[in-house]
């Protein structure tokens, strides 16, 4: 397959189209504008629909409607825009609709900074809306992974009748890298995917086959709905995805996801050359979180964990603490507010930690 040079946001959009996405609604916000712009010109070419919503709230509710018809649908936004999306994401989760959302993160609460960051971990993994629903959250670290994870997200969403979130950041969204694009689904395949959902889609049925998209229960059925969702979340043990890099003999384990993990990986190699036995655990999906990956460590040998995030205060560290269960100290290596993590910063923190604990 041919490798082409593509910007992260555009690669995300093209991957979605190839996966059969035929509806996109969104509202402009930096640093993800290339996704809606790409969709505006690309979707009509394949018989799809692009709508620029008047707001994030309108866009996310358009997606709710589109997804209820069984059309593969996606929307993207950034951080504070995703906060506005929360009502629509919750609606899809509650009505069990398979929409795909992309958050190209920026740095800090509310307006934050428009530069890259990883400031939305807890929102993405724990509460992307009200009511305690969960999503599979994909955390790419390269443009190629953005492509692969978006392509896969539609299948996961339809498998579970649940929204899926791609948690990218401004670095991935704006940088260019060589990628291999997945196969374009044919018109027939896209139609078949929609047809397969017809029995549960709001498309016009006779009375006896009536379909209702219901983001909550008017009557007393809500607990049963909550239980059904909880049962589905339990099936995600098989969906844990984690990358372990040089962890077998490591004495210092870095924990990082997304773009920070990529920087951490480079630092691990340098530290190894210096004789410091470092390793990396990278949650490829941050929900479900790979708690077991930490259980498999030999805490007789591992002296410390270094949690690396582009977020202040640290957020993933909550999950890391839960996984480590006090079996070794956890240190943090953090940047935020649009200040990028660097290899030098990671090396400095890791060397200091090595002196302290080894």
């Amino acid at each position: 397959m041919a490798r082409i040079f593509m910007k992260g946001c555009e690669a995300i959009a093209e991957a979605a189209v190839r996966a059969g996405c035929r509806f996109f609604a969104g509202y402009p916000i930096t640093p993800q504008n290339e996704i809606p712009e790409y969709m505006a010109r690309r979707l009509p070419e394949v018989g799809g629909v692009f709508v620029q919503g008047e707001s994030e709230i309108a866009s996310v509710n358009m997606l709710y409607g589109a997804s209820s018809t069984g059309t593969r649908s996606m929307s993207s936004s950034s951080s504070t825009g995703i906060s506005l999306y929360s009502e629509g994401i919750a609606a899809c989760a509650s009505a069990r609709l398979p929409a795909v959302y992309v958050n190209v993160m920026r740095g800090g609460p509310a307006l934050g900074a428009i530069q890259p960051a990883q400031q939305d971990y807890l929102q993405a993994t724990k509460a992307s809306g009200n009511g305690g629903f969960r999503m599979i959250v994909q955390a790419p670290s390269t443009v190629q992974e953005c492509v692969d994870m978006v392509y896969e997200a539609f299948d996961l969403a339809e498998r579970d009748d649940n929204p899926v979130l791609i948690l990218a950041d401004g670095v991935l969204g704006t940088m260019m890298e060589p990628v291999v694009l997945p196969e374009m689904k044919t018109d027939e395949e896209v139609k078949a995917l929609k047809a397969a959902r017809r029995h549960k889609s709001v498309v016009g049925h006779p009375a006896e086959e009536r379909v209702l998209a219901e983001p909550g229960s008017v009557g007393t059925g809500q607990e049963a709905r909550n239980i059904a969702a909880a049962e589905m979340y339990k099936t995600w043990d098989k969906d844990v995805k984690v990358e372990k890099f040089m962890t077998d003999d490591a004495e210092i384990i870095m924990a990082a996801y997304g773009i920070s993990a990529r920087i951490a990986k480079t630092a691990v190699k340098t530290l190894r050359e210096e004789g410091i036995k470092a390793g990396l655990i990278r949650p490829v999906r941050i929900s479900p979180f790979p708690y077991d990956a930490f259980d498999s460590l030999d805490f007789g040998r591992v002296k410390a964990i270094l949690d690396i995030e582009m977020s202040i205060p640290a957020q993933m560290v909550w999950d890391v603490q839960y996984a480590v269960k006090g079996r070794c100290p956890i240190h943090e290596c953090l940047r935020s507010g649009g200040q990028l993590m660097t290899k030098e910063k990671v090396l400095e923190e890791a060397r200091r930690l090595a002196k302290e604990v080894l």
């Binding site: 035929r22 919503g53 358009m62 997606l63 709710y64 709001v202 016009g204 379909v211 983001p215 008017v218």
Partner: protein
């Protein structure tokens, strides 16, 4: 002599369902009209409802067609997503005044401005129903509500909002009519307005808007008969009936 069938059950309404709406409420009437129109057009199976929150949201128990319950105020956004993906269906939103004119004002206006090819059925009774009688944007001046205990005061709360007139400022909408269900003639006019809106939609003409002035005896604190008088004496002078726009007649 063979008997001639002059009336059949409306297929768009759930059989033998007992209405849970309050005495004197007109939601039941309007639902029946929607069902009758769909039957008469032979489109009952193509109907898709995007319904608002509040008493409007109770309506899904009584209709037999596919429906999406939409979050507070978002029915026009969700209907956009539905209709754009199911262009051959007949899509309508069913929304009250709080839903459509307050929390969903943006979604309503911009869907109208895009000329989305669906129908909005707007139930205007000047008050929030399900939440317990709070002030709506359409509450009349002087009218008491649970959040305007001394009556709506212009200086503090502003004036009643006229959605049909506001939407009539936009270029894209194709058909706008305000009707009432306060008397049999009004009910008949409401039905023909819904029919016209659905037919324009079926012909791909664009955004159609039917505002229906109705009562809420429970939250108005009136018996059903007095509520009808209130509509005629108080509501209709503020919300005059009629066709505000019919591009079909202009063409």
């Amino acid at each position: 002599m063979a008997m001639e069938k002059v009336y059949t059950r409306t297929t768009g309404i759930v059989k033998d369902m007992v209405s849970g709406f309050c005495p004197g409420c007109m939601h039941g009437t309007v639902h029946k009209l929607i069902g009758e129109v769909a039957d008469e057009m032979g489109r009952a199976n193509d109907l898709i409802r995007a319904e608002g929150i509040g008493c409007c949201g109770l309506g899904q128990k009584y209709v037999t067609h596919d429906s999406a319950i939409c979050l507070h105020g978002r029915a026009c956004a969700a209907a956009t997503g539905i209709k754009r993906n199911e262009p051959d269906s007949l899509v309508y939103t069913y929304q009250g005044d709080g839903d459509l004119a307050s929390i969903g004002l943006g979604e309503t206006m911009l869907a109208a401005n895009r000329g989305e090819n669906f129908t909005v059925i707007f139930i205007n009774n000047g008050i929030y129903g399900m939440t317990g009688g709070q002030m709506a944007p359409t509450t009349l001046l002087g009218m008491k509500s649970t959040t305007t205990p001394n009556g709506r005061i212009a200086e503090e709360h502003g004036y009643p909002i006229h959605m049909s007139e506001i939407i009539n400022q936009l270029t894209a909408p194709y058909y706008i009519e305000r009707t009432t269900c306060a008397d049999p003639a009004g009910v008949r006019k409401t039905k023909s307005a819904i029919r016209k809106a659905f037919e324009y939609q079926a012909a791909g003409k664009g955004f159609t808007f039917v505002e229906i002035v109705t009562s809420c005896p429970t939250n108005w604190g009136l018996d059903p008969i007095s509520a009808l008088d209130f509509i005629k004496e108080k509501m209709l002078p503020e919300y005059p009936l009629g066709v505000l726009r019919d591009k079909g007649k202009e063409e």
